[in-house]
């Protein structure tokens, strides 16, 4: 029988805000095994791994490594005990070279002097051993996402870890890069490593893994050998009720152009040209989806449209007004709503009440003013209506927003952005990290708002299913340009999108047609 590398027993984690993320979870990894940890977003996978990697402390439970009970107090401790982690968002220094990143914290050289040559040699050595090739002299900011992931893997391997945690490694990869990663992971497996593969993509799990543990609402809802399971059984373990995520929608009746972006360029602080002559438009009454691997200019684009960032050159016409030099406030007054991709950073004021958070975007328009004062009665009614209509689970507008769950916080944001008089919504990753029920609700709302309120919606998402479900028109963005347009989404597959996202294929101007 294979040796057990790691065992977590009876793990319970309660966050200081009272949220119980893990309930009595038992989990183990063998040698020569890829173990899938699957579950919906918010099921507790990441929390469990943070406990294993020493980022969070568990409230109850025990961790055994190689059969010995241990206590992991911090990530350094975890690495020393042979547990390495590749985070969902890479933890790399963009301004250093690949080799420097890999040896960071264990720099070779006499005393305080850094021996660059030796660092590169060390890097080459591990690269050869595990057949993970990246040019060690390149700066990390210049390499692709797939290569960054390899650097993360190497960073863990050079420190001699035996158990590797990969937190949704494929979320940022194209299907082709994913395949390459799988080959590398299988290679590592054959060398005796134990790999924990976190995902919510069943096909990937079926292809790659040996065993799996399924989490649901912080509990283990199923486990077994992949060879004895099929996607249907797995999805049944993952989702507690049959959620019909198929959104029925009638054909969009696209009307006047609300947003027209013309040849915008953006050069970032590192001098990298993030947006290249980006041109497209959105009409009233339609949802335009933007597909693309993360980091191809989508966030910059959404920040430029909403006025947070200023474009280097180009023209944006919104509701008939040129907005590239306008302030956020002026753009919002012209009718823009913005659901940002980072809801904690941009979307809420953590320490304030639900009411204040909803009021924030309406303050400057004077909608809730009564002379110099706030019209508290009107505002409270508005907030209560939002809570009711969007099914926000809280006892009232005075609740502090930080006591709400992620899904409910997102509902507050969506309620705020969709309840006003705007006629255009940018929804940037509106359902990332959100439970199934809320995801479904938000998707339906986005469709509904175009059909009933005649809004235009620009949906940016890394979830291809979501894009195919919700969009009326789909654009693919690659390196700051639009490389493909699908006006009829019938029969478009995720594979096909992936080829455009990676840049294997590219539509010509004629094939795409007018982009608005």
């Amino acid at each position: 029988m294979a040796k057990e590398l790691l065992r977590m027993e009876g793990i319970t984690k309660i966050y200081p805000n009272g949220f119980m993320a893990n309930k009595n979870i038992t989990f183990s990894v063998m040698e020569n095994e890829i173990h899938a940890l699957i579950g919906e977003n918010g099921a507790g996978k990441t929390t469990l791994m943070k406990i294993l990697f020493g980022i969070e402390e568990c409230t109850e439970g025990k961790i055994y490594i190689n059969g010995e009970e241990t206590h992991i107090s911090n990530p350094l401790d975890a690495i020393a005990k042979g547990v390495g982690m590749v985070h969902q968002h890479f933890m790399l220094v963009p301004n250093l070279t690949v080799a420097e990143n890999i040896v960071l914290g264990m720099e070779p050289g006499p005393g305080p002097v850094f021996d660059k040559k030796k660092a590169i040699a060390m890097t080459r050595e591990v690269m050869e051993k595990y057949q993970l090739e990246v040019d060690p002299t390149m700066l990390v900011r210049d390499i692709s996402v797939g290569q960054k992931q390899k650097v993360e893997l190497l960073k863990a391997l050079i420190r001699g870890v035996k158990v590797l945690i990969l937190d949704e490694p494929t979320a940022v990869l194209t299907p082709q890069e994913t395949r390459e990663l799988f080959v590398q992971l299988k290679n590592l497996k054959s060398q005796g490593y134990g790999i924990i593969f976190i995902s919510h993509k069943l096909n990937e799990v079926m292809e790659l893994c040996d065993r799996c543990t399924v989490l649901r609402h912080g509990r283990v809802s199923g486990r077994g050998n992949i060879s004895e399971l099929d996607p249907a059984k797995l999805s049944k373990m993952m989702v507690e009720r049959e959620v019909d995520l198929n959104i029925e929608k009638d054909k969009a009746k696209a009307q006047d152009v609300i947003l027209h972006i013309e040849k915008i360029n953006y050069i970032d602080n590192y001098g990298k040209r993030v947006l290249k002559d980006l041109t497209f438009g959105v009409r009233a009454g339609e949802v335009v989806g933007i597909a693309g691997v993360e980091g191809n200019g989508q966030n910059e684009m959404s920040e430029i449209i909403s006025g947070i960032l200023k474009c280097t050159s180009g023209k944006i016409v919104f509701n008939g007004v040129e907005i590239q030099d306008k302030s956020i406030k002026e753009i919002r007054h012209l009718g823009l709503s913005h659901i940002s991709e980072d809801r904690i950073k941009y979307g809420i004021a953590n320490t304030l009440s639900v009411r204040d958070n909803i009021a924030s975007i309406y303050l400057s328009s004077g909608e809730f003013n009564k002379g110099p004062f706030l019209n508290v009665r009107k505002l409270n009614k508005f907030v209560d209506d939002c809570i009711k209509e969007f099914e926000i689970a809280c006892s009232g507008g005075q609740d502090k927003i930080r006591y709400l769950s992620g899904g409910n916080i997102q509902k507050v944001i969506v309620a705020r952005e969709l309840s006003g008089k705007s006629n255009f919504v940018i929804a940037n990753q509106p359902t990332r990290g959100i439970d199934v029920g809320t995801t479904d609700l938000i998707r339906r709302l986005l469709v509904k708002t175009t059909r009933e309120s005649n809004r235009g919606v620009l949906l940016i998402s890394s979830d291809l299913t979501e894009l195919l479900e919700v969009s009326d028109r789909l654009l693919v963005m690659k390196d700051g340009e639009i490389v493909a347009q699908f006006t009829d989404l019938e029969g478009v597959t995720e594979e096909e999108l992936g080829e455009y996202m990676l840049g294997v294929k590219r539509m010509s101007q004629e094939e795409m047609g007018d982009l608005f």
């Binding site: 309660i14 119980m20 913005h338 950073k345 303050l363 400057s364 004077g366 609740d399």
Partner: protein, 364 residues
């Protein structure tokens, strides 16, 4: 309200109350150590209820309470906008200077009715306070200079400008210290209860707190300041004018400090005679911290501090314990109130317990 939120609220309150109690106990222990076994009973008595043993002493508490409330409210705005300017301290000294000079160098105010004069005095002090508060604010927002550091340095500058302005112009040469001539009766807050320190300024303070609460909770500006202080990036994203808001928070702080100064200088004193920093501004910071930057709690925390300060003064006159003891007491209070970790474990355990109970309930 959610259960977790209730627990949090309870622990915040508990932390403040326990902080004060522990500070008291520490002080009592030190008093006992200082006075020895002989006079400790007397000292403890003086410290605990000294301020309430005579009307004159109680008047002293009221007199301190007034500027404390105002400066505390002002600090709430500064603090809520995410800035830590302590310029209020210097404003107490410098805010009355222009109007004091005007008062004694021209005859304009001599014939005016008292109520008009008081309005002029208050407006002038607030104006000066507001202008001075903009110096560290400008440094922070436009030049990137840390507002805490600049304001601390400026405080001393303010104090000396005040002294030298009086000395070189209107100083009353008959006195052995630098002071302006005595205020005429129609240019000051009248004293109550037969020339005790309690004066009409307390009403200004009461109105000031009400106005502060209205601005803080019930106006667009108040909400914007709180949003900006909680998350500046979110404020920007919401279309709030993020260039103006931090200035407004600090400006309001300056205006209230100016008013506090007015109440102190034209109420508790018979002439302008501040020759060094009064510590009222710094106390304002403590009051705001204890009140959790909520102006609604400021009257309470300001009263506690005013009472403690008066206790120290009583102790100073009646026993051989120095007034500086109170500074230490303050340090202990700040330590416990500001320390988020204090009672943190207990709080965490309580939240975990109720979460489990709720889980169990849901499971049933």
């Amino acid at each position: 309200m959610r259960k977790e939120q209730k627990v949090d609220l309870f622990f915040e309150l508990l932390r403040v109350v326990l902080g004060i109690i522990i500070a008291y106990i520490v002080c009592l222990v030190i008093i006992i150590l200082l006075t020895g076994t002989e006079g400790w009973k007397d000292a403890v008595y003086n410290f605990a209820i000294g301020p309430y043993t005579s009307i004159r002493r109680f008047a002293q508490v009221i007199s301190r309470w007034a500027p404390y409330m105002l400066v505390g409210c002002g600090m709430c705005f500064v603090y809520a906008s995410g800035r830590f300017s302590v310029i209020s301290e210097g404003i107490i000294n410098i805010a009355p200077i222009p109007i004091v000079l005007f008062m004694f160098m021209t005859n304009t105010m001599t014939g005016l009715p008292k109520i008009i004069n008081l309005v002029i005095i208050m407006a002038a002090c607030m104006l000066t306070g507001g202008v001075v508060s903009m110096i560290p604010a400008y440094g922070r927002e436009k030049l990137g200079a840390n507002e805490t550091v600049t304001s601390i340095i400026l405080n001393i500058v303010c104090a000396y400008i005040g002294v030298s302005a009086i000395r070189n112009t209107i100083a009353n040469r008959a006195l052995s210290f630098v002071a302006s001539p005595r205020y005429p009766d129609n240019m000051r807050f009248a004293r109550y209860w037969g020339n005790t320190n309690a004066h009409q300024g307390i009403w200004v303070a009461v109105i000031g707190v009400i106005v502060a609460c209205i601005i803080f909770y019930r106006t667009k500006l108040g909400v914007e300041i709180r949003i900006y202080g909680s998350n500046p990036v979110f404020a920007k994203y919401s279309g709030i004018n993020v260039r103006i808001i931090p200035f407004m928070g600090q400006l309001l702080g300056g205006l209230f400090a100016g008013l506090a100064s007015c109440v102190e200088v034209f109420g508790a004193y018979d002439q302008y005679q501040l020759s060094m920093l009064t510590n009222i501004g710094m106390d304002g910071l403590l009051i705001a911290v204890m009140a959790r930057k909520q102006p609604i709690f400021v009257p309470l925390t300001a009263f506690v501090l005013a009472s403690i300060r008066t206790s120290a003064a009583v102790l100073n006159t009646n026993t051989n314990i120095p007034v500086e003891l109170v500074t230490m007491l303050q340090a202990v209070i700040i330590f416990f109130v500001a320390a988020e970790g204090f009672l943190g474990r207990l709080r965490k355990r309580t939240i975990i317990r109720i979460s489990k109970q709720q889980q169990a309930k849901e499971a049933r």
